[in-house]
């Protein structure tokens, strides 16, 4: 069974405003273009703690997980 896009969209609600803003842009510009594999990677990435996620998105820390790197790179552009 595929991942529910609406659920992933809702899970872009985070505890930090910085992430909310970046993810809102991502939802507007990138989200609908994710294929199923990319969506799965993105959903997986969203399981991270918010401070860790922000560190990756802001570039303060490298993303060490190979399959997240593409979506993290796209988030960094948002």
């Amino acid at each position: 069974m595929g991942i529910e896009r609406g659920k992933v969209r809702w899970q872009c609600r985070r505890s930090l405003l910085e992430l909310d803003l970046v993810l809102a842009r991502f939802l507007e510009t990138e989200f609908d273009r994710l294929d199923d594999d990319q969506l799965a990677d993105f959903a997986d990435l969203l399981r991270c703690d918010d401070h860790d996620l922000w560190a990756m998105v802001s570039g303060a820390r490298e993303c060490g997980t190979g399959r997240w790197q593409e979506v993290v790179a796209r988030l960094r552009q948002c």
Binding site: R14, S15, L17, V22
Partner: protein, 597 residues
């Protein structure tokens, strides 16, 4: 319509620090406890709290709860209730040590005690010198706290309903609170959570302002639900603003940037703080800086095409210093203002940060409302804690690190009160009226059947612009008056919001429409309460209530030393006295005085 029903001893709405602390108390006492949360608990906004939690442990410097009490009363500009404040500061050590035992990784002193650091507004010997009172876990105190509490709740078998949104508070004809209706986002189905006790811990509503540091999830759901159910909202004219949020985004630029030499400039490039605070200049206190910025904007010296912000300039600092000491700020500026602060100044604006008012409670976390001549009559079965509640410990302004303390102390206290009331036989499971879910179902049916109308995002933006312009950090008589009329128009337009997507499952458009209903309640309360309060006090500063010998700082204790209560049904206001008497004879009342630092 048939609505599924679940029954619990206690239902808690919100899984931030206050909700989790209350839940832990209840679950460990063996009560069947449900916690509803829109987002996964460790994604609650408590995570964003960095500063620490105040407690007079005295590990790093000499300290006493008397001094913490004095600082908190003074910080509140004497609007805080001294019984609640005494209760909070005396409970501080206990709740911090408990957290330590739950595994919270506090910073340590060399001898292994919890390390404490200084924080603005906290002092020893009644304002004589700074004190080290803030217990922190690096710059992730809220995050560490929430994880410790969540894990402890899992151990205690708290039942979590994650990605559920509470929609309405249920009451019977006698005013007893019976639980809530809630929407499961995954299915779109509504259920009734029927409970002996209902605890609201839904956080603040800072997103009613255009510029806010709050995460998107902070939509004041608990306040909206309480207001619709006839509970007044207290002191909602008081909002703490941070002077430097990125214009248009709200993300905080820390005070440390000005500490490193950052300069605020207007459209003429002038360092305007030299005029307002000749000595401290850009390092003046938050409220002074914020009001100076707004004055510049209001007098036409704002920057940008709409002249609606000022600039924070660090271009005179060497790139090395910026890269080394302020890398996070540079990243935020590039990302959210499209400006590299090495080359160009950052657009900033005073930004709503914290809500001092909320659902009225006593120090036990029981929700109180006027009844039979007593303004503080407990509402049976209803409790609240954290930013959504008003105990009132922050009064007209909050001290840093007292918010995490508030949610720990009053989250626990609300839990203890439920247990006490339960054991005393005062918490019956009152029967649900046949029409219990009707209000909720009508709201959903209206959204379902609305064929056209106003876009949720348009109404939300109109509300946010109105609040920012008419009830921002610096307030003006005429703007407030216009603001009341304007926010009532916006509220009217919110009655016909329209969503394209009518699907049931994971319908974020519907969530946002339902959240907007709650935000509108808070916005009305804030604007109407602010217009009515004709003095300046704490964070509520009016141009027409200036600093005079008769009214220092514009404060008018003779007429306005009282709490505001706003009622949603007809937008009327009532007032109730501030409690100037401490809880016990161990503390002397903190006598009224001018608030100066």
């Amino acid at each position: 319509m048939n609505v599924a029903k679940r029954t619990f001893d206690a239902v808690i709405v919100g899984a931030g620090g206050a909700g989790l602390r209350a839940a832990l108390q209840l679950s460990e006492a063996g009560l069947k406890t449900a916690v509803l949360s829109k987002v996964f608990p460790t994604r609650s906004h408590t995570v964003a709290a960095q500063g620490g939690v105040a407690a007079s442990l005295g590990n790093s410097t000499e300290d006493h709860w008397h001094w913490h009490m004095y600082d908190t009363v003074k910080g509140s500009d004497w609007l805080g209730d001294q019984d609640s404040i005494e209760f909070m500061v005396r409970k501080a050590n206990e709740v911090v040590v408990e957290l330590e035992h739950y595994g919270m990784p506090f910073d340590r002193t060399d001898n292994g005690k919890i390390y404490q650091r200084p924080f603005g507004g906290h002092s020893m010997h009644y304002g004589k010198a700074p004190v080290m009172r803030s217990c922190a876990a690096a710059d992730r105190t809220g995050h560490a706290m929430l994880h410790a509490l969540y894990q402890r709740n899992v151990r205690a078998n708290t039942q979590f309903f994650v990605e559920w949104m509470a929609l309405d508070l249920l009451r019977d004809a006698d005013g007893n609170v019976l639980g809530v209706t809630a929407l499961e986002l995954e299915t779109g189905e509504v259920s009734i959570f029927h409970a002996r006790a209902t605890v609201f811990a839904t956080g603040g509503a800072g997103r009613i302002f255009y510029s806010s540091t709050n995460a998107f999830t902070n939509t004041g759901d608990g306040l909206g639900m309480a207001a619709r159910a006839g509970i007044p909202l207290e002191d909602l004219e008081f909002w703490q603003f941070h002077p430097t949020g990125v214009a248009g985004a709200g993300v905080l630029i820390t005070e440390g940037v000005r500490g490193e030499g950052g300069i605020l400039r207007n459209a003429d490039g002038e360092r305007f703080m030299e005029r307002y605070a000749p000595n401290l200049k850009d390092l003046a206190s938050r409220d002074v800086v914020s009001r100076s910025m707004v004055t510049e904007i209001n007098e036409g010296r704002g920057c940008g095409p709409d002249k609606d912000h000022v600039m924070l300039d660090i271009t005179h600092l060497s790139p090395d210093i910026i890269m080394k000491r302020l890398p996070g700020i540079r990243e935020i500026s590039i990302r959210f203002a499209s400006v590299d602060p090495i080359n160009a100044p950052i657009p900033v604006v005073p930004t709503a940060h914290y809500q001092m008012g909320g659902i009225p409670t006593n120090y036990k976390g029981q929700v109180v409302a006027p009844k039979s001549g007593n303004p503080n009559t407990p509402v049976p079965g209803f409790y609240a804690a954290g930013e959504c509640a008003c105990a009132s410990v922050h009064g007209a302004n909050r001290l840093g690190t007292n918010s995490l303390l508030d949610l720990l102390v009053f989250g626990k206290s609300a839990g203890e009160s439920v247990i006490e009331d339960f054991k005393a036989g005062n918490l019956a499971l009152h029967p649900l009226p046949a029409d219990a879910a009707d209000r909720t179902l009508a709201r959903l049916a209206r959204l379902e059947s609305q064929k056209d109308g106003n876009a949720v995002s348009d109404v939300r933006l109109a509300m946010q612009r109105t609040m920012q312009k008419h009830a921002g950090v610096f307030r003006f008589k005429d703007l407030l008056k216009e603001g009341v009329a304007r926010i009532l128009e916006v509220a009217e337009s919110a009655r016909s919001t329209y969503i394209n997507d009518k699907s049931k499952v994971w319908n974020t458009a519907r969530q946002e429409a339902l959240e907007l209903d709650n935000q509108i309640e808070v916005a009305k309360a804030a604007m109407i309460s602010a217009e009515a309060r004709k003095e300046s006090r704490g964070a509520h500063v009016r141009d027409d209530a200036p600093d005079t010998p008769e009214h220092p700082n514009g404060r008018d204790d003779q007429n306005w030393l009282k709490h505001t209560l706003w009622f949603s049904a007809d937008n009327h206001l009532e007032y109730k006295p501030v409690n100037l008497k401490p809880l016990s004879s161990d503390a002397e009342p903190i006598a009224l005085a001018k608030r100066t630092y």
